[in-house]
Amino acid sequence: MTTFYAPQPNRRALLRLILAGAGAAALPGLAACGSDGGGTSADTVSFGNNQSDQVPKDAITAVLRSFEGESGLKVAVNTKQHEQYQEQINNYLQGKPDDVLAWFAGYRMRFFAEKGLTGDLTDVWSKVSSGYEPALKEASTASDGKQYLIPFTQYPWGVFYRKSVWQQRGYEVPKTLDEFVALATRMKSDGLVPIAFAQKQGWPGMGTFDQLNFRINGYQFHVDLMAGQEDWQGPKVREVFDTWKRLLPFHQENALGREWQEAAQSLQQGKSGMFLLGSFVAQQFKGADVDDLDFFAYPEINPEHGQDTVEAPIDGYMMSRKPGNPEGARRLLEFLATPAAQLAYLKADPTAIATSNKADTSGYNALQLKAAQVIKDAAHITQFLDRDTDPRFASDAATNGLNAFIQDPDDVDSVLKGMADQAKTIFTG
């Protein structure tokens, strides 16, 4: 071994040095968790964007540019891949979140608001509340009675179909479950897949569960079940799954290996008769096919509740806990509440509708007009299973429970036991 003339540090200095080295090595890993948002200069607002697909991304960027022109402020856009944004929200909100950031209404918003991770927007709401219906205000309000979200756009869930296919075969829109089953049976004998179905991504099947649940048990039961106050092993949930089991033979097979885009294409190609999804299904349709697309509300199952509830998730924007530019952030949120901003965005994505009741609907296509009407007529609006319940329950227990049921409908008892057990753990823990 060659001798090596190094200065002789004493032991403590050496230890300090080593620990500093270890710390420095560990830091980049930790620093990578936060984002580089949080602009602190007075003329810049940072904006956390989850619209990573090119078309909506360009649309929201255009909206932000027009805000820059109006306000003289700069907006620094920080875009993350859509699913990743949701997955990292926890670290993001605790790290250095952007001043204004994209999120969803409902329990999913309240969960973080109640943890004190997002900013109180009551003062912004006092200026913009005349532009929103009471239901939207309610969907933006946490349990402390304060608002934490500015709604931006909204889209309804419904059963979509191609008008031309239906006219050609003389199908009628079913109003009740029995008519629905009769229609599906007829489609099957006509060689169509009655109901297109895809569950590879884990969430589309939640839409089917929600519709059956509030049609059978009503809006309030949906809310309570999602809040962990009802029993997944009780007779009411059991009836939902029994009804679903009756309908499963009409659903496209191998759903667990299919993404919703593929199912939408089978509807577009006229191979499937119907498809329950959000109105974003129209993104898979081009040109004249979009005008051929229509939808109806899920048929009535229990006369007591009729068709009084519509699933219409709201996308909106929140403010971070300690924005770098509080003044600018509030101005931007106020701007996002204007019909002009919302309509500018919808030009690029004409499958959703504006949440502002001042929005001019004359530029809407037929689908948007119908969507707006359906939402307006609804007595109750739900957000969607994964937005109405605790994220800890939705992302694991609910997704995998529904998957297991779809895989083996006869195994419903053990599926429901698993879901009930996990609900107990999560909602009481």
């Binding site: 071994m1 090596f4 003339y5 926890n90 599926v415």
Partner: protein
């Protein structure tokens, strides 16, 4: 990668057991050398402890909490062992994951190892184009497992996939290779094994290159046939390689994650412990306590293998 040979032990008279002598301090290093040595061992050790053991023990501690990753240490609620109780009693995905992990490990230990060894022996025979075959067989190893997942999805797709079209079942009754929970694990294991085999082959090939031809010649002179030569002479010489293969395979088997995550997020028959940990810790749900408990289970399984392996190694180093 080659196995490090055991350092030659201090010379003793071979054969006759010596009375155990008190070991003298064999080194007489100058102070400066001690410092250099200390630094060279100390810094990596400290880094290792800080980046591996502290987080690992931290996970063990957090597994007794119901922390959701929000707020500081003051907000952590301690729940005792209830995470573990809930996991084994009321978490439907847990037991399938354990079963799949063990199946994964067994499969990798058997199939790619045997096939890899066979290929290595065949390629060791100076075939024409041997180099080409080697490269082709090793190629999957340079791909990430996530990419392997993508490639095999093209093979396994029900309607457009290669396999069903070759079998002629695509149009009539497509087999849902990745969607059917009874078979998808095996389909994925084939894909993982396809990649792993090349790796094992290369390790054995390196080992075979080190086998002294004189041994084979001696065996041939003694009238051993090819089988006997292989099993009695070559294979025992490959022992250090076998250890490396075993360790590598166990590591690969327990850390399997990316391929199933790419295919279907590790759901519906492809549950693995690593996926459950990720699902619960990363992601919106952020059940740090619960996920840590799952991670501890994985750690215990890994430690079981590691400890067994270390026992073997140290026992060999100890004189019998």
């Amino acid at each position: 990668m080659t196995a490090t040979q055991n350092p030659p032990r201090t010379a003793g008279t071979a054969g006759a057991p010596r009375p155990p002598s008190r070991r003298r301090r064999a080194t007489a290093l100058a102070g400066r050398e001690k410092l250099v040595l200390g630094l060279m061992l100390g810094i990596p050790s400290l880094l290792h402890i800080a980046l591996v053991w502290v987080p690992a023990l931290g996970s063990v501690a957090l597994s007794f909490s119901s922390w959701d990753g929000i707020g500081g240490f003051g907000d952590i609620r301690w729940v005792g062992a209830s995470n573990y109780v809930d996991i084994v009693t009321s978490y439907p995905r847990f037991w399938p994951a354990v079963r799949n992990n063990l199946l994964w490990l067994l499969f990798l230990l058997v199939v790619p190892t045997v096939v890899g060894l066979l290929l290595a022996v065949l390629l060791d025979r100076q075939l024409r184009f041997g180099r080409v075959y080697q490269s082709v067989l090793y190629l999957p190893m340079v791909l990430s497992l996530a990419l392997v997942g993508f490639i095999w999805q093209l093979v396994y797709q029900p309607e457009q996939g290669l396999l069903n079209n070759v079998l002629g079942t695509a149009a009539t009754d497509p087999v849902n290779w990745l969607g059917d929970p009874d078979i998808n694990l095996y389909a994925v294991l084939v894909a993982a094994g396809w990649r792993h085999t090349g790796y094992i082959m290369l390790l054995y090939l390196a080992g075979l290159k080190a086998v002294d031809p004189a041994l084979k010649e001696a065996a041939a002179l003694d009238g051993a046939n090819a089988w006997q030569t292989f099993f009695r002479v070559t294979f025992p010489v490959l022992k250090p390689v076998n250890v490396v293969v075993l360790v590598v395979t166990v590591i690969e088997g327990l850390r399997a994650f990316d391929i199933v995550y790419v295919i279907n997020k590790g759901r519906n028959g492809l549950e693995l412990l690593s996926v459950l940990v990720t699902d619960n810790i990363i992601g919106e749900s952020s059940r740090i306590g619960w996920g840590s408990a799952l991670a501890v289970v994985l750690l215990v399984i890994s430690l079981g293998f590691i400890v067994t392996y270390l026992f073997q190694v140290f026992r060999e180093e100890d004189p019998a």
